[in-house]
């Protein structure tokens, strides 16, 4: 149903600001209300979407590479259903 594409660099230097891209292709228009990116257990980016946000939300955002750990991208719709995908970031 929903297809997720995320872009996270494989490696980053400690303290480096990295660019993250997230795309959720979702057939239900305007129902995605929230997006969060959790980095090593801590929420580093949160978004709230209203009906004026485009369908199939694509978002580019940034975070500081602090330590090696998983990055989880999670979308939630208005019914509480969620989709997520995780990528591993190695910090050198």
């Amino acid at each position: 149903m929903a297809s997720i594409r995320i872009s996270v660099p494989d490696t980053a230097a400690k303290g480096e600001v990295i660019e993250l891209k997230a795309l959720l292709q979702h057939p239900m228009e305007s129902s995605i209300t929230a997006f969060a990116c959790t980095y090593d257990g801590e929420v580093v980016s949160e978004s709230n979407f209203f009906p004026s946000a485009a369908a199939n939300p694509f978002l580019v955002f940034y975070t500081v590479a602090t330590q090696t750990g998983p990055m989880e991208f999670k979308w939630t719709d208005q019914n509480g259903e969620s989709w997520s995908q995780t990528a591993q970031l190695v910090v050198t």
Binding site: S47, F49, F58, F61, T63
Partner: protein, 156 residues
């Protein structure tokens, strides 16, 4: 037949051209103090009665958005993004959409860079407004006009 119709077509073209020019001339960038009522209400609902100042927020939008259903937007805020001084929230408002608030982003010192690039829907030509809330509680805003050729009718 054609001869008889030509003057009418020319008149209509002239009228349309005049109309288009008027729209372009009247497209003056909006400022925080003269933000439309719908945007003011939406800002108050989100940030309360705090004053909104112009500056520090810049928006990037295509000059002509061919598809109003998905318009790429970049919001940049001037901020060092340190623990002491960072952007807490960026909110995007549309004066012409049925739902004025488009999206809100929560940021912090771990964000590293005060920039978000979402895609938004626009129900017609308008000046999109972004407001940034700083860690000291001040509010800053910027806006950018875009001409929408295919308007999105935002379904609610």
């Amino acid at each position: 037949m054609t001869m008889m119709h030509r003057p009418a077509i020319l008149t209509r073209r002239t009228l349309l051209a005049t109309g288009a020019c008027t729209v372009l001339i009247s497209a003056v960038p909006a400022r925080a103090e003269d933000a439309p009522d719908a945007v003011k209400e939406a800002q108050q609902a989100m940030f309360g009665d705090r004053p909104v100042q112009d500056g520090r927020v810049s928006l990037k939008l295509p000059p002509i958005a061919e598809n109003g259903y998905s318009v790429p937007l970049t919001v940049d805020v001037e901020s060092p993004m340190t623990a002491a001084d960072h952007v807490q929230r960026i909110a995007i408002f549309s004066p012409r959409n049925p739902v004025t608030t488009v999206a809100a982003f929560t940021l912090g010192p771990r964000t590293g860079r005060a920039r978000v690039e979402p895609r938004i829907r626009l129900a017609g030509t308008q000046a999109v407004i972004a407001v940034a809330e700083m860690s000291d509680g001040t509010l800053w805003s910027g806006s950018k006009e875009t001409v929408v050729t295919l308007a999105a009718c935002v379904v609610l």
